[in-house]
């Protein structure tokens, strides 16, 4: 197990490097505009452009630039470790902003994920157990609605109702937990719900499908033949195999959301990583793009690692190799 985790962590490093190289190449290959032009101002002179290149490190060859990125990443820079440089766009150190924004995105994702699991799993289980009943059809209908409803629209609608009309919740924006836990919660509750509704719906359908598969497994028949109570059959025999496949998916979804809650962040005006990546991409902000890429890649890798370890604990057939 220990060796496996170490190997996987090395693998993570490899993936992160690969992702950063790809991002780096995409940045320079895509015809997106020369960042130096932007920093040379509105009326650039050749000297100014050249100077901007030097200032941004764009005067060096691509391998040199990448090497610089890498050595800073590993060795740290004046802003701390890992060294992520400073933003082309805000001219500000990337690391502290990354930490700030990670808190925002983290708050959204963790809360949302908790919510969607707490809603999605029971809904799926109930639907599967009450298969083809009014409950099942009703719940799955609702799920289908949330899966097909555009997140953007749902988010705006929820704001309109709960902020503008009812006035129950504060509007958009983020309040750090350390500043005011109550406000933090009040501001996050809608984004959580919006994020959770879609995923809860997806997960409910998955759990239901898995449960239905599991229910017809031979070993469930064995469980009944043992004279177990229905509760015990569900809790002890059906749930585990039905949820095991969800774990891997959960990890990947969570990882993807690290950089992917763009719509939620934009609508609810949360300055998180997704939003940042969007701004960075719009502004040729290489250091920020690279930083978010590294974080997302690392998050996906580490989350899937955790999922795999969890899966191995839950399902003894899975071997960590």
């Amino acid at each position: 197990m220990g060796r496996y985790i170490i190997r996987r962590l090395l693998w993570t490093v490899f993936i992160v490097l690969l992702a950063s190289i790809l991002t780096f190449l995409i940045f320079f290959v895509l015809p997106a505009g020369d960042p130096a032009l932007r920093f040379a101002g509105k009326q650039p002179t050749e000297e100014l452009i050249a100077q901007a290149r030097v200032n941004l490190g764009l005067d060096k060859s691509l391998p040199q630039q990448y090497w610089l990125f890498l050595s800073r990443l590993i060795g740290g820079d004046e802003y701390g470790w890992p060294g992520l440089g400073y933003s082309f766009h805000t001219r500000d150190a990337v690391l502290p902003e990354l930490i700030d924004r990670s808190r925002v995105t983290g708050s959204i994702i963790v809360g949302g994920a908790l919510m969607w699991m707490v809603i999605g799993v029971p809904v799926g289980v109930i639907s599967a157990l009450k298969r083809k009943t009014f409950w099942d059809r009703g719940l799955m209908g609702i799920c289908l609605f949330f899966i097909s409803a555009p997140v953007f629209w749902l988010a705006l609608l929820s704001l309109l109702i709960f902020w503008k009309h009812l006035g129950w919740l504060p509007g958009t924006g983020y309040v750090p937990f350390a500043q005011n836990p109550g406000q933090w919660f009040a501001h996050l509750i809608l984004p959580w719900c919006i994020l959770a509704l879609l995923y809860a719906a997806i997960y409910a359908r998955l759990v239901r499908a898995n449960m239905i598969d599991v229910v017809s497994e031979d070993y469930i028949r064995t469980a009944w033949a043992k004279g177990l109570s229905p509760r015990k059959v569900v809790m002890h025999h059906e749930l585990r195999p039905a949820l095991a496949p969800i774990i891997a998916l959960f990890a990947i979804d969570l990882g993807a959301l690290v950089g992917g809650t763009i719509v939620t962040e934009t609508v609810f005006n949360m300055q998180g990583l997704g939003n940042w990546l969007l701004i960075a991409a719009n502004n040729n902000d290489l250091p920020v793009t690279m930083a978010v890429t590294v974080v997302v890649a690392a998050a996906v890798c580490i989350l899937t690692l955790i999922a795999d370890v969890l899966l191995a604990i839950i399902d003894p057939r899975v071997r960590l190799q």
């Binding site: 899975v318 071997r319 190799q321």
Partner: protein
């Protein structure tokens, strides 16, 4: 039907002379690597699915191959069908080495070898009508002419109503589906059909129908069969010559009746003895083997059967002892007369069977062979595929 012989007579319809087998397989070895890693895979071991196998298939005749899961019988069949590449060894088809042929050169040969699979439903595309399914090989191989007529002829030949060519597989029963599979195999007029457990999934009363159909087709068309089965009764019924396989090797090779009447390998004896016959008191005459088949990933040294072999214990005179030779040297197939080949250092002699049973009786009740049960598990701890998972199911087919 002629009496089975080692060198068969030229059967009507056969295109090859008696001496040259249709298929001659020599030294077939197939190893499946057990890999670790996602991108950079490295082999951490091998499943020895086939460990050097020789056999001949003659035109118009049936080679039966029996053995339990993990013995390599399906791997051998797939290699002959060219669905798998052997790791080592050669296959000659009508005297021509086809192991080295390119994909393109294989095309005409593929027509001459067809496969009928175990699960008739899984091997038929549910979205195609029966007519389309049977015509598919004709289309693929560019056979011209009235395909519909040809399809209907084939359907009639295998006992399906030719009017039903527009129906879909789910509208047919299991036995009828297997007939569809057979019709499809026949479409290109092959010389050899590989039957991989073709009746195992069928009900008893239907099995007989399909076996009779296969027999009739062989007589009419001079087809050769390579017939894979775990059911000794079925194999005996269809085969002219039979190879018994155990853990990737052929342990005994003999004409049908010689094998059943006078089995020489202890494993063959056990296999025949274990098969249910429905006879009264059969149980008392059973030779029960201890333990399970070891993992092909870690086959025992020497004779692979030695850990379970009752004859070896008879030879040593001690239920817990096995002769050194069996543990260290691997026996090769040796002719013991009239084309009867056996790979055993101490082939069964008259009276051995009864004696073995006595040993067995004491052994079976004492918790099998403790070493065997645990050793096998240890050999398999690291998610190595189990024999039944991998060798017959995990080949990507």
């Amino acid at each position: 039907m002629t009496e089975p012989t080692t060198t068969p007579d030229a059967t009507p319809g056969a295109t090859v002379t008696a001496d040259v087998p249709l298929v001659r397989a020599r030294g077939l070895v197939k190893r499946f690597p057990i890999t670790r890693g996602v991108v950079l895979q490295r082999a951490i071991g091998h499943v020895h699915a086939l460990a050097g196998v020789d056999f001949d298939i003659y035109a118009g005749k049936t080679l039966g191959v029996v053995g339990e899961s993990g013995c390599g019988k399906s791997t051998a069949a797939r290699i002959v069908a060219r669905l798998l590449e052997p790791t080592e060894g050669t296959i000659e088809f009508e005297g021509r080495d086809i192991t080295t042929l390119s994909r393109r050169q294989m095309v005409p040969l593929r027509r001459t070898v067809q496969v009928v699979f175990q699960d008739p439903y899984a091997s038929l595309n549910p979205r195609q009508s029966v007519g389309q399914i049977i015509a598919a090989p004709l289309r693929v191989h560019g056979v011209e002419g009235d395909r519909r007529k040809k399809v209907q002829e084939l359907m009639a030949q295998v006992g399906l109503n030719p009017e039903h060519f527009n129906r879909y597989p789910h509208e047919f029963s299991g036995g009828q589906r297997q007939r569809i599979g057979i019709a499809r195999a026949l479409a290109l007029e092959p010389k050899l059909i590989i039957c991989d457990e073709p009746v195992s999934a069928l009900d008893v009363s239907i099995q007989a129908q399909v076996l009779n159909l296969l027999g009739d087709l062989q007589r009419e068309r001079g087809l050769a069969y390579m017939f894979i089965s775990h059911d000794l009764g079925v194999v005996r019924h269809v085969s002219h010559r039979i190879s018994v396989m155990y853990l990737g090797s052929i342990v005994e090779n003999a004409d049908r009746d010689a094998l059943y009447d006078n089995p020489r390998h202890p494993y063959t004896v056990a296999l025949i003895s274990a098969a249910p016959t429905g006879e009264r008191g059969a149980r008392t005459r059973r030779l029960l083997l201890a333990g399970d088949v070891p993992s092909p990933a870690a086959p025992p040294p020497g004779c692979t059967f030695h850990p379970r072999c009752p004859k070896a214990r008879l030879v040593s005179g001690d239920p817990a002892e096995v002769p050194e030779r069996c543990r260290t040297e691997r026996p090769v197939l040796t002719d013991v007369g009239e084309g009867h080949q056996v790979a055993c250092w101490y082939p069964i002699e008259k009276g051995d069977a009864e004696k073995m049973m006595e040993i067995q009786a004491s052994e079976i009740t004492l918790e099998g062979d403790p070493e065997l049960g645990v050793a096998q598990t240890e050999g398999l701890t690291d998610a190595q595929p189990r024999p039944d998972d991998l060798v017959d199911g995990g080949t990507g087919l």
